[in-house]
Symmetry: D2
Subunit: 108 residues, 4 copies
């Protein structure tokens, strides 16, 4: 049986209290993204001030690692919640979707 | 002969008007980093609103690609300016440094 | 309920005719890996003959892309067969495992 | 002044005894590539025997890391020999070339 769950509905589940990510995880992610935003602003400033390029690139690599960590935390939550839920509802199309997403992360 | 150029001095060259990056490149980089900052803020909002995780991860992958482009533009400028300059001054230590930097970019 | 499926048993399923990969996929993968083996031997020969390093590195990048494609085909088969099967049997531990694997592929 | 060095001539230098890579480095690279060739054959066998996909993917990730190490050793040799040499001869076009190569390695 095909599930009638659409992306939107899966999102709505969260609003109904069945969040993909616990409040703790969301706080963790928000803190990480705030730090990353600061890193991006820092890089902008470094370029403005003609900081040695090597140091700027090192800072970019660090920011990319930080973004990668966010992606991994999201993917973990996605797999353990939405993917699992939809498979249990008989909707295997979710696997195609997550494979496309993983491909994007391997590519980046 | 070993060059006496330190990172700082190489940075100072820029201040003296011999910038690693032309004003045009710096404007391009600033515009890209502003867009990336907006993307990070967008990702934060998406997580806050429990957007479908797959879409958030896709947005993260796009941001990583955008950061990669910034890194490549910087590396190009670094190689064609600072690395070239220091090699011409007999300072081959710059190659060790840039190899470490490239390694970080391959790793991210 | 926890599944009693171990890695080995999951492998045995295949032998009993419930292969993770169809014969067609296995032939495709074998052909790809034969080509990759040839590429590796080619790289060895290039280094032996002092081929221009740039060309050797280009060939290595092509081989890495080819290996990446093999990894993606395997991951797709794994997700659509073993992961799906074990989730349907109530064994969600498989998700932890596949996340570790995906992490390795994002890192490589 | 533009250098008359073509790729081929740069390769020929090596044959005339001015190898990009010392015999020691070449032996190291050959040993690494032999191991990688064995890994590829191992992966082929694993797929033939329906080994648990997770384990096969882990082995592929290990092989990709090993190939990455070879690429880094080659890039280091390339930068410290051919790139340096051509810059010293006034041929800065080599920088464009090596940037394209680095891009391929960042992409793989």
């Amino acid at each position: 049986m095909e599930s009638n769950l659409s992306h939107e509905e899966c999102g709505e589940h969260s609003i109904e209290g069945k969040s993909h990510h616990s409040e703790k995880v969301k706080k963790n992610l928000a803190a990480r993204l705030n730090r990353i935003e600061g890193q991006i602003r820092g890089i902008k400033g470094m370029i403005e001030k003609d900081t040695y390029c090597d140091d700027v690139i090192t800072q970019i690599a660090a920011t990319q690692s930080a973004l990668n960590s966010v992606a991994k935390i999201l993917l973990e939550g996605h797999m353990k919640n939405c993917v699992l839920e939809r498979i249990n509802e008989g909707d295997t199309k979710v696997l195609e979707e997550v494979l496309v997403t993983i491909d994007k992360l391997m590519r980046k």
